[in-house]
Structure formats: structure tokens, C-alpha cells
Symmetry: C2
Subunit: 117 residues, 2 copies
């Protein structure tokens, strides 16, 4: 497919939160957009770093030793094994990258439903 992937357009296509949509594949990873609002849960990935880029709004990325606050155009990579909790101040739009098939809490039993779209 030789068409630009417009992240805003992809985000306009849905309204539910904490349900990432895959928009592209890259080296065994899913490139995803997601809407977040309020707190997610504390979680840890044992096998992968966790990539966050804020497209809209403000995200507090709580770590056990401090909080990283991200606005639009700001990013952070949570290293694997580091527990974290994303907390969205109002509605936040994010670009996420994770290995294809990763449950969104690092644990299948607690993962939210992931819809591909």
C-alpha cells in the first residue's frame, strides 16, 4: 500500500479509550494510535521497551521513582522491566509501538481488549 498514514484521521475513526488501533507494521512491531483518558493501571513489560509519543493532550507517565510529563511532540521510552502507569489529563492521543501481539498490560489476564482497525 503506497498511501500516507494520517494519524489524526486514524484517531477520528474511533472514540473508545485504552483500545489501541494498529496503523502500520514495522520490524515485527505494531505501530498504534490510542486515545487515553484518566489513569490506566500499573504494569510492566518483561520483554519489551514501551514507546510513547504524545500527539495531543498531556500524559503523566508515572514511574515508581518519578513522573514524566509529556505534551504534544514529546516522547519517552519506558525500558523493559520498569513498572509504569500512564495517566491522561483529559483526552490524550498517543502513538505507541510494541512488538506485535504484546498484551497492553504486559499480562494477558489483565489486558484490555485490543481492537485492530
Amino acid at each position: 500500500m503506497t498511501t500516507a498514514i494520517d494519524l489524526s484521521e486514524k484517531l477520528k475513526a474511533f472514540s473508545d479509550t485504552f483500545a489501541p488501533r494498529t496503523v502500520a507494521q514495522f520490524n515485527g512491531h505494531d505501530v498504534m494510535v490510542v486515545k487515553a483518558e484518566g489513569p490506566f493501571i500499573w504494569h510492566t513489560y518483561d520483554d519489551t521497551d514501551d514507546f510513547f509519543l504524545v500527539l495531543k493532550g498531556t500524559l503523566d507517565l508515572e514511574l515508581r521513582d518519578g513522573t514524566v510529563t509529556l505534551g504534544p511532540g514529546q516522547m519517552f521510552v519506558v525500558p523493559k522491566g520498569v513498572e509504569h502507569r500512564p495517566v491522561a489529563r483529559g483526552e490524550v492521543h498517543l502513538l505507541l509501538i510494541e512488538p506485535t501481539g504484546t498484551p497492553n498490560t504486559g499480562d494477558v489476564s489483565t489486558a484490555s481488549r485490543r481492537q485492530l482497525g
Copy 2:
């Protein structure tokens, strides 16, 4: 390090073109920002997909079977093995992701100098 990575700030720190700066590491990849102006060269990566997200300006991503035009907030992944030539209309700012150590033309002998910063 628990500090937000501000992509605009990183881009303000240099002015040379086609010289990506690594701003983060993610699962064995370099996350990089780069300024582009005018045409780069035709090149192919045999071992990796090539991730482009436009932060500012307009990029024509020429493929042998068509051109993908990307504006701010638009992205594209060139699959591995697919020849391509980025052509920047004026100054363009990009987020790139590539496996750490990848020469920026897919070929060490023709790669531009990469500065880490």
C-alpha cells in the same frame, strides 16, 4: 533518565541536513530526528523496514511504483527490500526509527556521516 524527550527542542540543536540524531533507544532500534532538504539518494535496506513520521514540512517518498506524499502527522513504513528516495520540499523535519547501527543508505560505502547527539 526520566525526562520527556522534546522532538522540537532536539531539532533546534542542529542545522545540518541528512544527519540524523539519536534521541532514544527502543528494542535495539535508534529513534532519531533528522532535517531534510531536497532529494536524498535512492537506497534500499535489505534487513529492515524504514519508518518515517513527518513532524514539519512535506516529504515526497518516491518508490519505484509511485510516490507517497507525507505532511505533518503523517507516516509511512517502507518495507525492507523496497527501493526508495526521500525528497524534501523545502526544509522537512522527520522522526525515523532504524535498528541501531544501520547505515543511512543501507550501504556503508555510501552512507552519510551520522552524528549522534
